[in-house]
Amino acid sequence: MDGKIIVVTSGKGGVGKTTATASIGAALALEGKKVAVVDMDIGLRNLDVVMGLENRIVFNIVDAVKGRCKLKQAAIKDRRIDNLFLIPASQSDNKNVLDPEEMVRFSSMLRRHFDYVFMDCPAGIERGFENSVAAADEALVICTPEVAAVRDADRVIGLLYARSITPKLVVNRIVPALVERGDMLSHVDMVDVLSVELIGLVEMDDQVVVSTNTGVPLVMQKTSKAGAAFRRIAMRLNGQVDLPIQVPEASGGLFKKFRSKFGLKK
């Protein structure tokens, strides 16, 4: 196999990197691809709980990179989805236990075993970021429609370009009603400011919380709009580049918009 390594990053914390990694990884595995999602947030692991695999961890990425275990032992098979594997972060180590060189070596092994490998990057642009991008072929930049998040995304995009990686933008936590009212940056504004290619639009969705509560993958919840959006991003990554990007719309329709314009409804 000659898998692709995709780093999921953002600069700013809490914008949805882990949610995106788990969801897109699951969606690709459901498509039949062999997928590994790697938690690169050493010392603050997270992806395991989001995927409901926290009770199965024996070895972690540091063990695997340092050769203290085999890759097979560190890659935990998902409970529901065949072909989906989690390589968890270590909880006790310091961020600096790994370095980019080791990651490049480790990644060539990952490439041989998986079709897609997603690196769930920690917030910030320090060592954890360096390690996550070290071997990346592609990058997804997750950003919310907020000034601070967009600014940090711009910084990260600059760093990725410096490494000859052309990132693709995922806008997450969109509130369509706010966008339509002009009180939230639209994806058009964000693409304009960041001059970057867009790959998906994900709206704010209560199902994300439900999914993290239960450990049931978002993309398996039929009614989740965010889940559907992540599935489409996965398809686009998987070569369906012509799949149109759906713009989230506020429910409620014209009448509600009409009334809100006249200040009849808050």
């Binding site: 600014r151 966008v179 009180d183 504004d189 304009d192 400011v193």
Partner: protein, 96 residues
């Protein structure tokens, strides 16, 4: 569209996202112009070297700055010139 019609009537002034976008644009311009101390120092050294080829300058008083205003940013160089250097003679054979 009806929604657009109302948008035009009421204008875009009170849309807070336009404020956000404008602020972002300026913030990014500033961010992109931010240079590290190392780069400024290297530039300082190079410029002193280049200018010294043509002018006798007070190297201690040489100042290099990035100045920013709302509209644009400028690289400001300020150096007292002590004297112009005489043109170097074009490869004349040494008389001795």
């Amino acid at each position: 569209m009806i929604a657009n019609f109302f948008k035009n009537i009421f204008g875009k002034k009170n849309e807070s996202k336009n404020v956000a976008k404008q602020r972002l644009k300026f913030a990014l311009i500033y961010d992109h112009l931010e240079v590290t101390e190392d780069i400024l120092e290297a530039l300082h050294k190079d410029m002193v070297e280049v200018i010294s080829k043509y002018f006798e300058i007070d190297q201690e008083a040489f100042k290099l700055d990035i100045r920013r205003s709302d509209e644009l940013s400028a690289l400001v160089v300020n150096t007292p010139i002590l004297s112009a250097k005489r043109k170097r003679k074009q490869a004349q054979p040494d008389p001795t």
